[in-house]
């Protein structure tokens, strides 16, 4: 046996990230031609939104999809974003784990992976490269590249490149030909774009298909305040992150100064108190720390209860007013209300819950509330049954809010966080983190209470209107009869009764009922 073992030579080599994802594409959502096409559109549209709204630009996004022969599909996404510097273009599209969103703030993209998965998938299914045209505001030129990925080395291959005078002020156009089943993916993609239009009422989104064109014109010119780059909260930091921070710091820094400089909400007092509690001398130099010290430090940082709450500057909720406009734009309900909760946190991660509730109008009738879920403004379309929002909604007895099912009731939930607590790798359902669940319930119940007030007003209005009809319709008959018996003019009595009725209706105080 021993002889046999020694006779075999093990070969060792590293696996490039590109190769890893090429082999495990289902992890990133590219599991089959239907899902892959949907995922491709998503990645491109989300990059387009990040390049606009995060930088104070009102998004103007055009999506073009054309099915070709052999299940090939042409996809083009055009934005008016900040553009990409020409030197960065090949690498942001050609190297897995390369991007500009590794700062701590709320964006749709996070990993530096998304668009590369789209490129990889196109490359292995159709063999066609990605084409990109981009220009920045300050530049006079636009740059065009055709890019593929060298999978083994995780590096871009530039197939073609051109520079010319620019034809648009700023933005990026990305084109690729990939394999996909448009007929089957179509409904999902359309509903993804519709929901994106709902959460981003300030965006104009156009979808051009082979045979039709759908346009969501922006209904607001107001952008939510963009998120600021922030520091990590000590509770939310892990060993790798802290090691990285120490590596980048001056070694002569004291532990106390290090904490103050690198973490959210840590001043001199807080740092001192914590370090003493954790058994460290605040004056210890970073150079003196052993790996074991760092491990203890990180553990204690997680255990410590007296940190200040994380600051939510890194978050960018849509806000009640915009959320309402977005919901109106898509659902055209007869009533809508929105609740943006104050910031909260779980495990050192700040988060904000927003909820909108729409009733009547074009909201479809259904036996349970129709749910629209968003995380960091990304629509979640799969695994609704496993999501915490659905759980909270199902636990509510809606009859106490005067809702009788089937009802035209829709609920929108939006969770913003620098770390969305997804359930599993699918990133489509949010886990039942108690803090998040509680905030969701408070927000939904608040919105539901407002709905109840609205419905009672409607009920009352209906009652009063009905009262007016019922009494009003008999006035001529009653006046005629009594006028005959009393030898009086029928018109006098009718007028009296009519005036009394109008007065009666007015005193019932229904003048300020919201218009349907």
């Amino acid at each position: 046996m021993a002889a046999r073992l020694s006779s075999r030579r093990e070969k060792f080599r590293g696996l490039s990230p590109a190769e890893f994802f090429y082999k495990n594409r289902e992890i990133a959502g590219f599991s089959n031609p239907v899902r892959a096409l949907y995922q491709t559109i998503r990645e491109l549209v989300e990059n387009a939104l990040d390049a606009t709204e995060t930088h104070g630009i009102l998004p103007e996004i055009k999506v073009n999809i054309k099915p070709l022969e052999n299940d090939h599909v042409f996809v083009r996404v055009e934005d008016n974003g900040i553009g990409i510097p020409p030197t960065e273009i090949p690498i942001v599209f050609g190297r897995v784990f390369y991007g500009s969103k590794y700062q701590l703030r709320q964006t749709r993209g996070v990993f530096g992976l998304g668009v590369k998965m789209a490129v990889l998938y196109a490359q292995i299914t159709t063999g066609k490269p990605l084409k990109v045209v981009s220009t920045q505001n300050k530049s006079k030129y636009e740059y065009e590249f055709e890019i593929q990925i060298d999978i083994a080395h995780n590096m871009p291959i530039i197939k073609n490149m051109a520079i010319r005078e620019k034809t648009f002020p700023h933005g990026t156009i990305v084109e690729l030909i990939t394999e996909g089943n448009w007929t089957l993916a179509r409904r999902k993609i359309e509903s993804y774009l519709e929901r994106t239009a709902m959460i981003a009422p300030y965006a104009t989104i156009v979808l051009e298909e082979l045979d039709s064109k759908k346009e969501y014109r922006r209904v607001s010119k107001v952008l939510p305040p963009p998120p600021e780059t922030g520091k990590y909260h000590p509770k939310g930091a892990d060993l790798e992150l802290v090691k990285n921070m120490i590596r980048r710091s001056k070694k002569s820094l004291t532990l106390m100064k290090f904490l103050m400089e690198n973490f959210d909400g840590v001043g001199k007092k807080t740092a001192e108190n914590f370090l003493t509690w954790a058994g460290f001398d605040p004056e210890t130099k970073l150079s003196k720390l052993t790996l074991q010290d760092i491990e203890i430090l990180v553990r204690k940082m997680k255990e410590y209860e007296k940190w200040r709450r994380p600051k939510p500057i890194t978050l960018s909720p849509v806000g009640e007013s915009l959320l309402k406009q977005g919901v109106k734009r898509i659902l055209n309900p007869s009533y809508v209300t929105a609740v943006t909760r104050p910031p909260s946190s779980f495990g050192g991660n700040p988060f904000i819950v927003e909820v909108a509730l729409a009733y009547g109008g074009n909201v479809p009738q259904s036996d349970t509330p129709t749910l629209y879920r968003f995380a960091n403004r990304i629509p979640l379309l799969y695994d609704e049954g496993a999501d915490v929002s659905r759980k909270v909604i199902s636990s509510i007895d809606w009859s106490i809010y005067k809702v009788k099912f089937p009802a035209p009731l829709a609920i929108v939930t939006h969770i913003c966080s620098t770390k969305i607590p997804f359930k599993g790798v699918g990133k489509e359902a949010i886990a039942e983190v108690p803090e998040v669940e509680k905030e969701l319930e408070i927000a939904i119940r608040e919105a539901a209470r407002r709905l109840r007030r609205h419905l009672s007003k409607l009920e009352k209005l209906y009652e009063v209107k009905r009262r007016k009809t019922i009494i009003g319709k008999y006035i001529p008959e009653v006046s005629r009869a009594l006028a005959y018996v009393s030898n009086l003019d029928e018109k006098v009595l009718a007028k009296k009764l009519q005036t009394m009725l109008e007065k009666d209706i007015k005193t019932r105080g229904v003048i300020n009922v919201p218009a349907a």
């Binding site: 209906y462 209107k465 009905r466 009262r467 007016k468 009809t469 019922i470 009494i471 009003g472 319709k473 008999y474 001529p476 008959e477 009653v478 005629r480 009869a481 009594l482 006028a483 005959y484 018996v485 009393s486 009086l488 009595l493 009296k496 009764l497 009394m500 009725l501 009666d504």
Partner: protein, 381 residues
């Protein structure tokens, strides 16, 4: 034989002018409320069993003190209010013009379509009333609210009562001798108070439930042989049959005997003649004959008169249920004899028709049963 002396009636009818004045005053009060910007509201005594009171002393059913306020501005009452004043105006018109409509005429006169636009902006229509029950109900409301009976208001109904006997009445200027009608009988008119009873030559009144029995007794001239007045209401008696019965008792002091089948329905018919009915309790004072006597057929008669088995019918569940109800009515409950009869009925579950007495021959009823029962005072009350 000398005619009966007339006594003074306590339930005389108001004059035509008086009737019109009361109706107009009632309508006028509503008009005035409107002119004073007040919600026009009617006050109407409640006509349900819960507001029906058994007057022990007078031995009649009367209306209790409960009144319902019916405001035109009450959504649930608006229609009934409209119906009430509509009916009032039709009756007032009939009085002013000297018309005598039947309740069915009133129903048709008032029935028409109201067109309106509803709260959703839809054009809709509605009938002032959908069936005669609705119009009859408001007539009753007007009766109880004004204290006037429909006969006073000149409203007719399909009268079905019949009468024969040594009685002379005067109607529209003609004297009518109720003993000279041959095989026929006099049909009691709707407004009995318009009749003048001029002469009565009889010892008692015999009221029979069934028309067939009435015809038989009339054919035999039972009333002539036994010196009585014979009346039938053909089942559940209408108001005029009850009124003429009462007048003969009240104005001429005639004892009244009631003869019905031996079953719950027969017993109840007797109690309607005697005490009044629940739905018309407001008019008992004029219609009831509180001293009426139940001659038969009683439950005990079945054994006492040895009615042959083949004439005995098994009582249905409904008969029994009805008898149990009767046991709860105060006017039965306060009579020992009736409690006994009803309990026996419930126990034996047997009923018989008057015709069962023919088991002893066709002449048994007229020659034996009726005279014997009256003579031996074998009636119950």
């Amino acid at each position: 034989m000398s005619p009966r002396r007339r006594r003074k009636s306590q339930s005389a009818a108001p004059s035509e002018e008086e009737v019109l004045r009361i109706l107009e005053k009632w309508g006028q009060s509503l008009t005035e409320q409107i002119l004073k910007n007040r919600y026009p509201t009617l006050e109407i005594p409640v006509r349900t069993l819960s507001n029906t009171i058994w007057d022990k002393k007078r031995k009649i059913l009367v209306l209790g003190p409960k009144k319902a306020r019916r405001s035109f501005f009450d959504v649930g009452e608006a229609k009934r209010f409209m119906q009430t004043v509509l009916m009032l105006s039709i009756i007032v018109r009939a009085r002013r013009e000297g018309d005598y409509p039947t309740i069915r005429d009133l129903y048709y006169t008032g029935k028409h379509t109201i067109y309106y636009v509803d709260e959703m902006g839809r054009r809709r229509s509605e009938e002032t009333w959908n069936d005669q029950r609705e119009s009859n109900a408001v007539i009753q409301d007007i009766e109880v609210a004004t204290g006037l009976l429909r006969e006073h208001m000149g409203i007719m109904h399909d009268a079905k009562g019949k009468i024969v006997g040594n009685v002379i009445i005067r109607s529209k200027g003609y004297d009518i001798d109720l003993s000279r009608l041959g095989s026929g009988a006099y049909a009691v008119p709707p407004n009995v108070d318009k009749l003048e009873i001029r002469r009565v030559d009889a010892d008692y009144v015999l009221v029979v439930e069934k028309d067939a029995i009435f015809e038989r007794l009339n054919e035999e001239e039972f009333w002539r042989k036994h010196n009585c007045v014979l009346i039938t209401g053909k089942g559940q008696p209408d108001r005029s049959t009850r009124r003429i019965t009462r007048r003969l008792w009240e104005e001429f002091g005639l004892p009244v005997y009631v003869l019905t089948d031996a079953d719950s329905y027969g017993f109840y018919i007797y109690s309607v003649y005697r005490s009044g009915s629940i739905s018309l309790s407001y008019e008992s004072e004029r219609l009831a004959t509180p001293e009426a006597r139940f001659l038969g057929v009683t439950v005990t008669d079945i054994t006492e008169y040895k009615i042959p088995r083949n004439y005995i019918i098994k009582a249905t569940d409904r008969d029994i249920k009805r008898a149990q109800e009767l046991l709860r009515y105060p006017w039965f409950k306060e009579s020992k004899a009736w409690i006994e009869q009803l309990k026996l009925f419930i126990k034996k579950k047997e009923k018989v028709e008057i015709e069962a007495l023919s088991g002893h021959g066709f002449k048994f009823l007229t020659q034996t049963y009726i005279p014997e029962k009256i003579k031996q005072r074998k009636w119950i009350v």
